[in-house]
């Protein structure tokens, strides 16, 4: 498969240059809901160009944290900066996110892709070819005309991912994007993610699949109780998790 993004020369949809929005920094970040402190991150910097994998038990705050980083939720305190600047809507348009429960528009599969391409100003003449390429990447070539909401869970996740890739994002947030995929599809989606990362997209991804974290990640962010307990290169994390919680987490996974 050819990567069309490399041949495309739009302002937003060209080759991602995530360095322009990196590092992502959070200072004094706090989020409270219902009297509970969900996120308490005094100081976090995500710098490396390789994928950052976010691990942690259910309810640790992983989904909430990436919502905050993506700018979908306003923190109660603290701020997020992109390369030292305050994020604005243009910066968010250079990012994309795949939600833990994908939201598909009430349109056909291709309609969902056209929507994003149109938003990014891709000319009509180029859209069809790009949609075809994206469908092929997501293994959805035969499904273009189907209603997006009639896709199976795994197909829907694949559509959400290729739709997120459609705008050639500089930063891509993924919330368990392979949680309902079969092993073959997981492998293909991992290949897609890895390729996007190689092409210059900064991937920040939540996963419960430790093998996946190892395969794709360059660094691990371990979250527990709304706090970042550990931020370590992948090569160091698995053999020697530093915090007790991370050790228990990794051991627990190895046991089952």
């Amino acid at each position: 498969m050819r990567d069309l993004r490399l041949s495309h020369s739009g302002a937003v949809t060209g080759v991602p240059t995530p360095a322009r929005d990196l590092p992502i920094s959070a200072r004094g970040l706090r989020l409270q809901r219902g009297g509970k402190l969900l996120i308490d991150v005094p100081d976090l910097t995500i710098e490396t160009v390789g994928p950052t994998m976010i691990l942690g038990p259910n309810g640790a705050g992983k989904s909430v944290l990436i919502r905050l980083l993506h700018g979908l939720v306003e923190p109660d305190a603290g701020q997020i900066t992109l390369a030292g600047r305050d994020p604005d809507r243009a910066a968010r348009a250079r990012q994309a996110m795949v939600f833990q429960r994908p939201v598909l528009l009430r349109r056909s599969v291709t309609g969902n892709l056209h929507y994003v391409l149109r938003f990014h100003g891709v000319p009509r003449s180029e859209r069809r070819a790009r949609v075809r390429d994206l469908l092929a990447r997501g293994d959805l070539s035969g499904k273009g005309r189907q209603s997006a909401r009639s896709l199976s869970g795994g197909e829907g996740q694949r559509l959400a991912l290729i739709r997120a890739l459609a705008g050639a994002p500089e930063i891509l947030f993924l919330d368990e994007p392979t949680s309902s995929l079969d092993p073959g599809a997981t492998q293909r989606i991992e290949a897609l993610i890895a390729r996007a990362a190689r092409a210059g997209t900064k991937v920040i991804m939540v996963t419960h699949d430790l093998g996946q974290a190892r395969r794709l990640g360059e660094e691990i962010l371990f979250l527990n109780g709304g706090r970042v307990e550990e931020q370590t290169p992948v090569a160091d994390f698995f053999p020697r998790p530093r915090s007790a919680a991370a050790r228990a987490f990794v051991d627990g996974h190895l046991l089952v």
Binding site: A93, M97, L105, R106, R107, Y115, V116, S147
Partner: protein
């Protein structure tokens, strides 16, 4: 009873024979109410959608007000529009009183809140589902209105049909501002009222039958719209 049977037979005869007077009244009714609904939809749908997505102080009060306006009594609307359009009123110079245009205005006032309020509900429900995703793509709050209107179009059609049902069946407002003038402003409902009081049951029954047929058609169209949405989009 015999009287009634004879009237009914006469009424069916009127409908089937394509009686010119009858069909002129039906056509005027449709022209007035369809025009009113079209205008009300063009104003009401974006208004309802904007109210669904915008966040500003007083929004909740506005929603309550809009919902209350759904139940405006037609005669009161007729009275107010009458005062606006009468020679002494602020719009008197337009000389619209006792014309179909006056009836359209009255029905727009009556129907616009219905379409706006129902559209607000439809769009708000859809927005709850879409807002994070659209925001993630980079679409602004107000920028999401066209998307929400388009993706909710089948449910919005239900709102428009509800407005049409109200307009075509309404009598109090059009009789005040239209005056029920023969060949000029006589519509189905006002003719039924007049002819019944005159004892001319045949024409009244014929029009009543057509009105009921229209009501059934609107209802069928409403459920068809919902069915289409579910079938096409698994909404």
């Amino acid at each position: 009873m015999q009287d009634f049977a004879a009237s009914l037979a006469h009424a069916i005869g009127l409908i089937l024979s394509g009686d010119a007077e009858l069909w002129a009244i039906v056509l005027l009714s449709l022209r007035v109410s369809l025009s009113a609904v079209l205008i009300a939809a063009v104003i009401g749908m974006p208004l309802g959608a904007a109210l669904a997505v915008a966040r500003f102080p007083g929004r909740q009060a506005l929603i309550v007000l809009l919902n209350a306006l759904m139940g405006l009594p037609p005669v009161v609307v007729g009275l107010v529009v009458y005062m606006m359009l009468s020679n002494a009123g602020p719009l008197g110079v337009l000389q619209l009183l006792y014309t179909p245009a006056a009836m359209i205005i009255a029905q727009v006032v009556l129907v616009m809140p219905i379409i706006a309020a129902l559209s607000r509900q439809v769009v708000e429900t859809l927005d709850r589902e879409y807002s994070e995703q659209l925001r993630s793509i980079g679409v602004s709050r107000l920028g999401s209105v066209p998307t929400l209107l388009w993706d909710g179009r089948f449910n919005l059609l239900t709102a428009v049909l509800a407005g049409f049902g109200r307009a075509i069946a309404e009598v109090g407002a059009v009789i005040i501002v239209g005056g029920n003038i023969n060949h000029v402003t006589r519509v189905m409902t006002t003719t039924i009222a007049l002819e019944t009081s005159k004892g001319n049951l045949a024409l009244a029954l014929a029009l009543g039958t057509i009105l009921i047929f229209i009501a059934i058609t609107v209802n069928a169209a409403t459920s068809a719209a919902g069915g289409t949405a579910r079938r096409l989009f698994h909404a």
